[in-house]
Amino acid sequence: MDQMVLEAQQWVNATYGSVVGYSKVTEDGATGWSTMYALTRALQHELGIATLSNSFGPTTLAALQSRGGITLDEKNQNLVKIIQSALFCKGYAAGGINGSFNLPTQLAVTSLMSNAGLGDALHGVVQPKVMKALLTMDAYVVVAGGKQSVRSVQQWLNGHYIGRANFFVIPCDGIFSRDVQKALYLAIQYELGMTDSQATGAFGPGTQAGLQAHLLSQGATGVFVNIFSAAVVFNQVVLPDDSVYSAFTSTFDGGLAAAVNAFQSFSELPVNGTADFATWCELLVSTGDASRPGTAFDCVTTITSDRAKALTAAGYRVVGRYLDEPANSTLHKKIQPGELLTIFMNGLKVFPISQYYGGQVSYFTYTQGYQDALGAHNAATGYGFDIGTVIYFAVDYDATQADIDSNIVPYFQGIVAGLASQGKKYIHGVYGSRNVCQQVTLRTYARWSFVSGMSTGFSGNMGFALPSNWSFNQVQTLTVGSGTGAIEIDKDIAKPGTDPAVSSVNDPGNPVNDFIAYIGALYQLAVNYKGTRNPNQLVLEYLRHADYDNMQWQKLIGDVDQGFTSYVDSHDITLVKVSTVKDPFYGIDLHVSHLGAAANGVLLLGKPSGTATNRGDVAGWGGDWMTFYGEWRRDSASYSSGATYCQERLAKLSAIGTFKLRDLTEDADGYLIAMRVLGGENIVDVVQDHYTKGYLTRFQQFFQGRFGGTAANAKAIAGDMLTSDRDALIVAGRTYLIETTGGIPTLDPSMLPSDKLDEFCQGFADMLLAKVGEENSKAKALMAKLRAAGRM
């Protein structure tokens, strides 16, 4: 509770409580839209507007403009009190709510203006647009998750275009949003010479034609380079060194060219490092240049042989088709008998989509997700789709962030539970707007995103970058072929190296089988080798030897038997060798060398007692955790809270970050495999069992086994990993990882205030608990509920 916000609420209620059209605000001292609306209505009343509204619209603006804003010598004390109240609500100390436009109030207004990029000169008046900005919940400082680079662009846009009639102050919070994207469109239109009435803030034909005349390349300078680099900053382009491009510039330099190359590569555009038309479009609108050729499509129409031939001739190679449809549907959109054979015989591949309804928020519930997953599983099994196939579950409407939080994510959690209840034969992907895809991926680990880019006006597409795991981007509806070969399709841009799609069905092969066979072959060689070390240990050493056998690793957990490495390589293991294994739960590629290192460490050093940690931990989760700490400190300007950072970055599918879901999965699997081998089991049996059924509860086992099954233990162990000074080698390795990740100097964890470190470690424990919950509780609870209802 903020005392001054409370005072503001009390004052506005006391002063306007009896005014017709005014709604009293709850006096709780918490700032929010309701208080801003109350102040807006109070302002309208003071300006003589009869019909009060929450909206600070054209009437309010015109009334303010007609009186020249609110000047320092304002006689109406209530107007000044509204300003002071709004300032307190936005976190600026205005000196008091006293109706006097005194120095503290003036300084607070200029501070806000400066933060918003509007300069720090008041010139004796609070301008109408500043007043409008005051009465929003927009922030003008970087908020959690925001970036200073994005804020710099926001400030620049405000400073440059605030004088234009339809440009209003945008937030400067470091977050790319719909309003910010619209402001960028306006900036382009202003610079193209459009009048205020022509500049609509929409990316229409006029704007596109104008951009055709502003193609840029390295060496270019000027305002269009500013706008172009702003768009690159907004799209959070990941550079080859894993950093995110952040330079807002008026000169098209080598750094910007490198970022453009990275963006073009990521977006599946020709890589030329220039601001060509396709790149402009891709940066600014979710379809990109919709006329560019695509190699994939999706459709509701049956693929006949004639249509398949027409599509193949037009360059299409992959088709998205529906697995099922509601019983009462007359669309016949699902795959028809014999259709898959036609698709494959004509050289096409297919990716399955599941959509029973999905057009409005009320449809999406956890239970519905669970049931849709069962339906999709049964349908996919009926068609013969093999283990590991990604099924895209559709969200076919403009879901807002609130919808995503309340319904869409629970729906996908239901899907995860439903697929898991059937043995996780299939893996879920997501179809929807950019924001839906990003959020569902972040929170439920959707393997791939099929983006509905064609819906350019969706609130979930404007102000959001293409998700890092995009596999298909739907960009244009068109008709291909003629006569019996004619078919209407939605053209998709396919991203090579992501979802390979399906080229056959009823293939009994399982990607995990290759890994199990590889372990079996290595174990046989280890037995035949007749070395001094245990064959199980030799297998793990071989798995890690290429990546985790340098000087520090040799000191940490011991060296690798070089003789065995040479022995294996002399027996031509290449035919069965695998370096990655597709995880049957998440569909992600696990790195065999990291898995081997994590397991080898635990096998050699065992599990420490109590809440202590040892070198075996460092070989697995501990090393990743140390690096993640460095990453948090590096990003601490945007993420003061360690718990928030963990929530948003730890063990995610994202391409950015050092401790991804893949790492955690490898760490957990390594630990579980090693502990069973230590218990006397053979590694081949253990691996086979783990990747046949053990993986379904891997995080539950890991949490119980290594962390004692309690959040308090997990937090304490995570803390010990970062602060323990019992082992000088661990301290040296930790210091190196933290300093090289966070940048010198990065505060050592032991130097951090204990409450901040506690919060960070609690984030680790919470993450583990969330993983356990995802695997376990909801699925069980719902299955019990469905059984009780007689539906299973």
Binding site: H545, A546, D547, N550, M551, L556, T565, V618, G733
Partner: protein, 108 residues
């Protein structure tokens, strides 16, 4: 007496500088790094049997790729500098001992 102290201080200083130089080599040469070797030596596939070669003296940490090429990660100047500082320390020590011997001889 002042001469002895000067050479002794120079000896200690040279030894500390040698240690700093060596530690800098450890740091810059990824010798303390726990990250995957293929990330440290990114760009080409590593040699499968001997992906690295390393030694503590002289300090070396070398990527070995499958095409037969190699790259030393420890900066080239670390070992010569460390050696030069150690030699300097040794010379200073000898001079300190000699100065002490001369003072002792003169006293007699």
């Amino acid at each position: 007496m002042k001469t002895i102290l000067t050479w002794a201080a120079a000896t200690v200083l040279a030894l500390v500088a040698a240690a700093v130089s060596y530690v800098c080599g450890l740091w810059a040469g990824h010798t303390l790094d726990l990250r995957p070797w293929s990330e440290i030596c990114a760009g080409k596939p590593l040699d499968d049997v001997h992906p690295f070669s390393a030694s503590w003296i002289p300090l070396s940490n070398m990527c070995r790729w499958s095409d037969g090429t190699t790259k030393e990660l420890v900066p080239w100047y670390v070992n010569p500098l460390t050696l030069a500082l150690l030699v300097t320390a040794a010379v200073c020590l000898v001079l300190a001992v000699r100065a002490a011997y001369r003072i002792r001889t003169d006293d007699h």
